[in-house]
Symmetry: C2
Subunit: 113 residues, 2 copies
DNA sequence: CTATAATACTGTATATTATACAGTATTGTC
DNA sequence: GACAATACTGTATAATATACAGTATTATAG
């Protein structure tokens, strides 16, 4: 018999790895309307999706670098915030990605069940 | 308007990234019975899951190193093959991982739809 | 008022790992 | 006798989530 805590440790590690790949879809799908890092962080936590600053901020920077997001530094608010939103390319890519993953999820579900 | 080929290129790249994380679950779920690399490769292709040698072989080696698989080099066959199969830890982890991802998939589906 | 928690970032380093690349050898099959 | 398919091993590399360090402001509770 293997200790449940030991199993859980392994599951946590592999689970994180699995979540990793899907983060892009999760985050992009939230940025059809503008969000800043912290607001998105809280929003995702609320919805049961665990993610840390250390993951989210660099990801948003990366998605901007890769050309999917535009950002807008707003200072006319209680405190300065960088708002991100999908641009035209981002929108188009998200739409196609969703479509593709409806299929992929089916395949994976079938394989892993 | 953005060229469809351009969008597809981006989708392919992000899609590969998404698939990446799930590979572990996909592969482990096939190794409740023993398989060798090439047989698993063909099996997954058949089921609509694209994966290359370059991904699969190193992954199986890694899962063995991490203690989830045992391997067995069989030479009494038309040609020598290394068979892999989940060991006790692997079975336990897979079971827990499946359970956890039933939940996770629900969350992600809800968030990304 | 003043400590503390929550908010809201930026910048750089590191560890992990899928993928790529190179190579080897055997077994069909045309 | 050539070529495709089978079936690996070993090492290199590029991408990127996560970690770590640092900064500064605004609520809030005592």
């Amino acid at each position: 018999m293997i200790e449940p805590e030991v199993i859980q440790e392994h599951v946590d590690k592999l689970s994180a790895e699995m979540r990793r790949g899907l983060i892009v879809l999760v985050v992009m799908s939230q940025l059809e309307t503008e969000e800043y890092g912290y607001s998105l962080l809280k929003k995702l936590e609320e919805k049961g999706y665990d993610i840390t600053q250390d993951t989210l901020y660099p990801l948003m920077r990366r998605l901007e670098t890769q050309g999917y997001l535009n950002s807008d530094w707003k200072v006319d608010e209680p405190r300065p915030r960088r708002y991100y939103q999908l641009n035209e390319l981002g929108e188009a890519v998200l739409e196609a990605l969703r479509k593709e993953w409806k299929e992929q999820f089916k395949v994976i579900e079938e394989i892993t069940k």
